[in-house]
Amino acid sequence: MDTLNALLLGFDQAILPTNLFWCLIGTLLGTLVGVLPGLGPAATMAILLPFTIGLEPVTSLIMLAGIYYGAQYGGSTTAILLNLPGEASSVVTAIDGYKMARQGRAGVALATAAIGSFFAGTVATLLLALFAPSLAEVGLLFGPAEYFSLMVLGLIASVVLSRGSLPKALAMVFIGILVGLIGQDVQTAVPRFTLGFEEMSSGVNFVVVAMGLFGIGELIKDLENPESRTAIHAPFFSMIPSREDWRRMVAPILRGTGIGSVLGLLPGGGALLAAFAAYAIEKRVANPPEGFGGGAIEGVAAPESANNAGAQTSFVPLLTLGLPANAVMALMFGALIMQGIAPGPTLISEHPDVFWGVIVSMWVGNLMLLVLNLPLIGIWTRLLTMPFHYLYPAILVFCSIGAFSLSNSVFDLWLLAVFGVAGYIFAKLDCDAAPLVMGLILGPMMEENFRRAMFLARGNPTIFVDRPISAVLLALAVIAVILVALPNIKNVREEAFQE
């Protein structure tokens, strides 16, 4: 009953005309940028984040959440139509989705993705509403030592579950933490690593870092290998799935939703892991006549449901414990802080309107995607085939305006240039920038909690293992690292991330 009342409170927020309007703008912009080449959800969020800051906290979060699923949806669209997954979590969608498109069933594939996503989104929203409050109560028991250990676990898990080499990803986390520590020390007000720049005393804005690393770095790299983008000009209007299609998509959508909802909750989880796992399981369970990889509708329905469910439930650790599970959630975290709201266990009780408003608007955003984006597919595909030399100046201009508008400071533009170069170099050296952003956001909080815990323990570092919850969290982190370092598991992990 409480949950119901709370959801109603959320509805009151979500259906306010301004919130509906910005939710719509968010989903549209998210899809728009999401279908553009090379820009995944993290880049999309980073580029569009500055434009949400002037809004009310609830409204801005609603818009950001809209941008997030819009970008996800845009990624699936490019995966199906172009065999170019706009983001990692649509990689598996591309396998069967693109085949379906080649067989003239692009419309059905897109519709399946949208329907699966909507269903998964609805279920995940309900799960979020049911379980988030109790998780937040657990979070209230946490002291500084537990928080420090939780963040260690969160960072380690996000690294373990990402692709690429573990030492590199860890190194990127450390760089992120160090960059995050730039600026005035909170406790002593001593400026740290500012190189004497007055502008750096308040720290390096995370939006500028994310924009430089994800947006500008990718852009320069994309300019190097201009791929020819030819979208499939199949008759798009055959979007309505046949009775047979409906029958075949029900079970995969249910399975995908279940898998995605669970995996999204894990620290380091989220959409990517969910999609891969759902596809792998579907391969074992279902037996489509075409076979997987030959245009099976199951191969679209399951991962698309899973990635949306995972995307949604990965809000749970963020909103209840203040722990972002992946880079996109880390950006959300930063946006909350910029709005003056501290994500964590007290969020639900202190800002119930924000919490429930955002949860309900996620569902509303999914509905908007379903209703609006399917008819707009024609426009998105035209955008897809737009030559890159028209697109990149616009992306560049948006990044510049966004960085400048953060605090009306030209200095942020110089930082954007610096991190753009850094992003390019990291991309060249096969270093994923996502762990860096995680470290950037979590670093200052880790330090803060570390120092507080040490103070409370009168300088005894064993506090982190003496307190049971903290010890368990740290043990989990250590186990995760050991598991990945073991040769057997290492091979499995590498295989899992190969298409």
């Binding site: 590199k168 020390d185 320069i220 100046p393 533009l413 110089w414 570390f450 103070f455």
Partner: protein
Amino acid sequence: MTARLNRQILAGLLFVSIGAAFLIGSFDLSYGTWRKIGPGAFPALIAVLLIVMGIIVGLSARKSGEDEAPLRLYSSNLPVIIGAIVVFGLVIRGGGLLPAVFCCCLVSSFASRPLRPVKSAIYGLALGAACSLAFVKGLGMPVSIIGPWFGF
């Protein structure tokens, strides 16, 4: 010699130097005591960890095969794109949003082939006008559309 510079070694070197830079920077800060940890201690710890990771990454290079594609670090697009951002930064205050967007577009067009200066200029103007309308008029961004350089 250059053939040996593969991604792993370069990445390792990069990590070690960034770690070293922060470690040296932390020497100026107080490390405090165990009970009252100073502003320098945590960064120093992380910087040391970064250096260790850098060494691990660099050392693991030899084991990995030579099947990687040759690494070309420099790209002629890099200075163009970065230059476009810098030009935007130089123009925005004095020139205003419209000229800044225009210049940013124009500079960035040097990264596309074939180069079409007239088309790029027109595109830049249109984009500038659209941005001015959306951000200054629409979202109320506190910046002039045409700035003091032009006598406004």
